[in-house]
């Protein structure tokens, strides 16, 4: 529960898109480095739900606690067939060290150059602090935002909202397997 200046920072709302992309919006494609030499694209994951967890900074206290929790909840996310991706403006090398140190079993994407470009597209960039806001998106298997949420910088949002959104997706009529057409 240590806090840093970043964890305590107040939110600012000067990103070009006002607020997080709401439910029903087609999720902008993402192509970011997941490792220093490998990119990962959102469209590659079409066909199953995706959880995007934007967070301010590798190594910060609240972010570390939040991602450690998600690492522990990963088997439950996988029961829904969902893929979890963390996103911050840290570089792929920084992510690599953070993942190794914490034993994370999911990818962290580097929204590093142009800095915060993806976060801006999703309406969750804090241009005053130069970091991603603490924001969550659940994207359905068709690539449409099903749920989004921005947490105050200093508050770990937990995983209950994500699981509720995944439940709603699993219960929706579109969750049924698509009919094969010839």
């Amino acid at each position: 529960m240590n806090t840093s200046a970043l964890d305590d920072a107040k939110e600012t709302t000067n990103s070009p898109v006002q607020g997080p992309l709401p439910a029903g919006t087609v999720a902008p494609d993402i192509s970011l480095y997941a490792t220093p030499d490998q990119r990962l694209s959102l469209h590659e994951l079409k066909g199953s739900p995706v959880i995007l967890a934007f967070y301010p900074a590798d190594w910060s206290s609240v972010c570390g606690d939040q991602l450690t929790l998600y690492n522990q909840v990963l088997p439950t996310f996988r029961e829904y067939g969902a893929t979890l991706l963390g996103i911050s403006v840290d570089s792929a090398w920084c992510h690599q060290a953070f993942v190794k140190d914490r034993g994370f079993h999911f990818s962290l994407l580097a929204d590093f150059e142009p800095k915060g470009a993806v976060a801006r597209q999703y309406g969750v960039y804090d241009s005053h602090l130069g970091v991603c806001k603490r924001a969550l998106f659940v994207i359905d298997k068709e690539g449409v935002v099903a749920w989004s949420y921005v947490s105050p910088m200093a508050i770990n949002p937990g995983a209950d909202g994500i699981l509720d959104a995944l439940d709603a997706l699993a219960d929706s009529p579109t969750a049924r397997p698509p009919k094969t057409s010839r």
Binding site: M1, T68, L69, Q72, V73, T76, R102, N156, G158
Partner: protein, 179 residues
């Protein structure tokens, strides 16, 4: 505000009177240093509120960060199955710097339990479903780190300190709605 999604039942580890004015549910990890500090805070709260406070402990081991958290939780559950949950719970937190098989065995022996039975419990994962069920209920209730406290079903978001928690417990008590 986050609320407790899994009601307190007789299957929970409870300390205090069922009709206490306030039920304090803690989601904890035996290796978490903040839980280690909160252990002493909770002791003081119990002393202060006496019969007005019912304490419930549920497992929330963050095993990917804390390699001893699960072994300690299994030890407490095993001891609990033989009627010594709170003794084991207290000894684990009071010796948090020594978590490991020798401590678990010593706790078992101190209460006349079998360290062999405990070893079997560790190997067979017999208590894993209970521990995982506690964890899953915590996640659904919005536990976002440990320790997480719920007072009469509402998550307490203040610092885990005696003064602040006492005030919040008094507020809960005044509101009633124990659940």
């Amino acid at each position: 505000m986050a609320t407790l999604k899994v009601p307190v039942t007789a299957n929970d580890h409870r300390q205090g009177r069922a009709d206490a004015k306030v039920t304090l549910v803690e989601y904890g990890d035996y290796e978490c240093p903040y839980c280690g500090l909160a252990y002493w805070v909770v002791k003081q709260l119990q002393q202060h509120f006496g019969e007005d406070l019912l304490l419930v402990f549920r497992n929330f081991p963050l095993t990917t960060a804390h390699p001893h958290a699960l072994g300690a939780a299994v030890t407490a559950e095993y001891a609990g199955s033989r009627g010594f949950f709170w003794e084991a719970h207290d000894e684990l937190y009071e010796h948090q710097d020594r978590l490991g098989v020798p401590l678990y065995g010593a706790i078992a022996l101190r209460h006349g339990l079998s360290s062999d039975e405990l070893a079997v419990a560790m190997q067979t994962d017999i208590y894993l479903p209970k521990i995982q069920s506690d964890f899953n209920g915590g996640v659904r209730s919005g536990v976002n780190g440990t320790p997480a406290f719920y007072m009469n079903g509402l998550r307490y978001d203040g610092p885990p300190e005696v003064t602040e928690m006492s005030q919040a417990i008094e507020l809960s008590s005044a509101r009633g709605l124990n659940r």
